[in-house]
Symmetry: C2
Subunit: 210 residues, 2 copies
DNA sequence: TAGATTGTTAATCGATTAACAATC
DNA sequence: TAGATTGTTAATCGATTAACAATC
């Protein structure tokens, strides 16, 4: 219920996973679940689940457990999935296309409203009902449409510049697929770095140490 | 030096980031760095860096700091980046293409040796010098070429089945882009789940709570 | 040698787990 | 009511930070 600050980042990291598992249970037709059952399914302890959830409020009922649909809705609210943050995509290469085409933005708090690329040749091509615009139109477009979020699928070399431009235009959140750590210093800007390369290196470590 | 087990996962998670920052320093022409300087650059404490590195060995030198090229090589060895794990890609949609085209596998311990899709129409099309094969050829291909790793860019509904098939064919590592948690139970298999959806939800939380 | 900075031990802090009274 | 399971407090465990002797 409360969106209290001071919540550990480790707890936040687990919320999307709770949300996902509860969605799966729901689509299996399950209506209620105890922290113990959920913990077995997710590979956690029941204690941890109860502690995590009680950071935000008492969503369960003694003797019964948790009402799945209701709990999922609460977690969704905490994550802000009921928002419709206007998002623009910068970079319409394979990765940008993949993200634009397959990511379910609407169920995750976002709405994709514009796509930009620096390649003249791509201009006008449609992706998910949106035309690719030239990067030179970015400024005008932002002043008119006030996106609050940008998805960066561009080379590392271009990322910092574009990021600063966009901050100047009022963008508050960045989903960054460039191979760099973005805006670590800016105070009122949220950044989520994806770093697929780091992920692959972690897999390499895991395989090496099986 | 030692590849000792019992290393905390939190330490492992930081290793790729160290590797990346050291690479950047190197390309800036810097040769040595102290834990304090590196900590300022990365937004960590110097203590943590020294503790992390000393899980694996004493890579520094008192009064001098760390030799960047040497330290980066050591971290690379710990991560297994000097390996050439044979990897196959399952699913040649936009995401699969993006990964195949733009990921620097060779510098991260992998070599892409095959690409598969269930769409007949894609058969024979080339990506990064490799022909897309039909999924029916997966079995034969694996018996001949013994890939140790598979990259799954397929719908969640297909992931568990393909994963089990591949485990039967000797695949030991999975880089999973499907929207599900894979093989949480299998003992001798390494899984790295990417979960872009979870990442986007985290961004939603961060924006909501700015 | 003196200065710098590591490797490492000790202290602190935070996160997870266990336990149990509250309560549906 | 009795049984089940939460919310919450206390105990444990692990990770981070601080401090400093070792040493280049």
């Amino acid at each position: 219920m409360t969106n209290a600050q001071g919540i550990s980042e480790l707890v936040i990291n687990r919320l999307p996973r709770y949300h996902r598992f509860l969605g799966e249970l729901l689509s299996e037709g399950v209506q209620r679940i105890s922290s113990r059952e959920l913990s077995e399914r997710m590979g956690l302890t029941a204690s941890q689940i109860r502690q995590d959830l009680n950071c935000f409020g008492g969503f369960g009922q003694q003797g019964y457990g948790y009402h799945i649909e209701q709990l999922r809705a609460e977690i969704g609210k905490i994550l802000g999935l009921d928002k419709q943050n206007r998002a623009i995509l910068i970079g319409a290469g394979n990765l940008g296309r993949a993200v634009a085409s397959h990511m379910a933005f609407e169920s995750k708090g976002f709405r994709l409203i514009g796509i930009f690329d620096k390649k003249e040749a791509l201009k006008g091509q449609m992706i998910k009902g949106l035309p690719i615009r030239h990067i030179d139109d970015l400024d005008d477009f932002c002043r008119e449409n006030l996106p609050s979020c940008a998805i960066l699928c561009i080379p590392k070399a271009d990322a910092a510049d574009i990021c600063n431009t966009l901050i100047g235009l009022g963008v508050k959140g960045f989903w960054n697929f460039s191979h760099c750590d973005l805006a670590v210093n800016h105070p009122n800007v949220a950044v989520e770095n994806v770093h697929l390369g780091d992920s692959l290196m972690k897999l390499s470590y895991k395989i090496t140490n099986l």
